[in-house]
Symmetry: C2
Subunit: 228 residues, 2 copies
């Protein structure tokens, strides 16, 4: 009984750390988007610092999970919980990296802006969805809410739709040259992958709750849909 | 003793499956590169089929690892081995997806080629490095060769260098328009991420052998270096 209660404490710690990381990932994407959309360098060092903190915390989650597996040897839903924590940590770490890539694009273009006027609304909407997704991912991890986890998976579609719209504009009368097009292609890809990782956290939690892994994804490429 | 030998058999099965998946990932990237570089649709359905097979096999690895953890409750290096297998499976699955994305670009542009003459040599070299990396990853997993795992991590730099070269050409007198630039940006990113996942398999195996996880990565963005 002592061992079981110790396990539950360790698990609660890991979960609290993951929730904290979702907050940091939200800060990172929010600051990166601000740097990009308000053409400011001021948030960039914060993005870098937070991205580093995320990596340190996800590494700590990994170590804790290892210890829990080695010492407690969980089975059934306890085992699923620790494996889901491991996967969610990996997803959150990538989200920090992607936010940092977005900040880098903003920094590289400064004092010019990377996002021309006609794409400002779309990128602003991408940034808003990314923030909403990571906020929801935080709740999903905190409350292990299966219904909200399913929402997270569905919300990813909204980002894909924006990704397609952005490519459509890039391919129709684009007056801003190749460098801007490359920047926007990468920015859009980074936001899209950020959303994918949020959806993956939804899958992780669904797995934890139901024991079911997602169906194999279709491998659909939103860019393909944009032009075919 | 029976349990231990059963564990070793299960582990050998998981490892054999991972080695098999590296072979499939090599087929996938090889066929995808052929579609792209020889401007042919013929390899495309094979890439799709192999990508699906990779996902099925990595899902099977995940199930097997879950069973091993639940039934055998491994500790120490045995635990590291199963966790490394889990991570390598996830890396290989992404590599299949990336190969499939490359095939999709080739398909979308057909009967035109997506790679203009002046970039043919660079993309051919990227394809060659990708194949070499996944071949090496197969050996690393098969023989748990730590020295070769370290090579895999270093080889990733060669791909980053090509990624930078490609961007340099895109930004210098690019006569092929925005759509071609977007295609090349994505192709280059897909090869670069394919190499990252090979390097990550090197890290997985190094962790397995030494128990050490890699230092936190610098978050360096090769595209940033290309233009700054």
């Amino acid at each position: 009984v002592v061992q079981r209660s110790e396990f539950l404490v360790q698990l609660a710690d890991v979960r609290a750390t993951l929730v904290r990381i979702t907050g940091l990932a939200r800060d990172a994407i929010s600051d990166a988007s601000a740097a990009l959309l308000t053409v400011s360098l001021e948030p960039v060092p914060r993005v870098r610092a937070v991205r580093k903190e995320i990596s340190e915390l996800t590494a700590a989650v990994e170590r804790d999970v290892y210890l829990v597996l080695a010492m407690q040897q969980p089975v059934a839903s306890d085992l699923r919980t620790v494996l889901a924590a491991l996967r969610s940590g990996a997803n959150l770490d990538r989200m920090g990296v992607l936010a940092s890539h977005i900040a880098t694009v903003a920094e590289r273009r400064f004092p010019l802006g990377a996002v021309p006027d006609e794409l400002h609304a779309i990128v602003t909407e991408m940034a808003a969805i990314a923030e909403r997704l990571i906020l929801k991912a935080g709740s999903v991890v905190a409350h292990l809410d299966e219904a909200m986890a399913a929402e997270l998976i569905a919300d990813d579609d909204a980002m894909d739709a924006l990704h397609r719209q952005l490519f459509f504009i890039l391919l129709t009368d684009w007056p801003h040259g190749v460098e801007a097009a490359i920047d926007l292609t990468l920015i859009s890809r980074y936001y899209e992958r950020f959303a994918d990782h949020s959806a993956a956290i939804g899958e992780d939690v669904r797995y934890l709750v139901t024991g079911e892994r997602p169906p194999l994804d279709s491998g659909e490429d939103p860019w393909f849909d944009a032009v075919s």
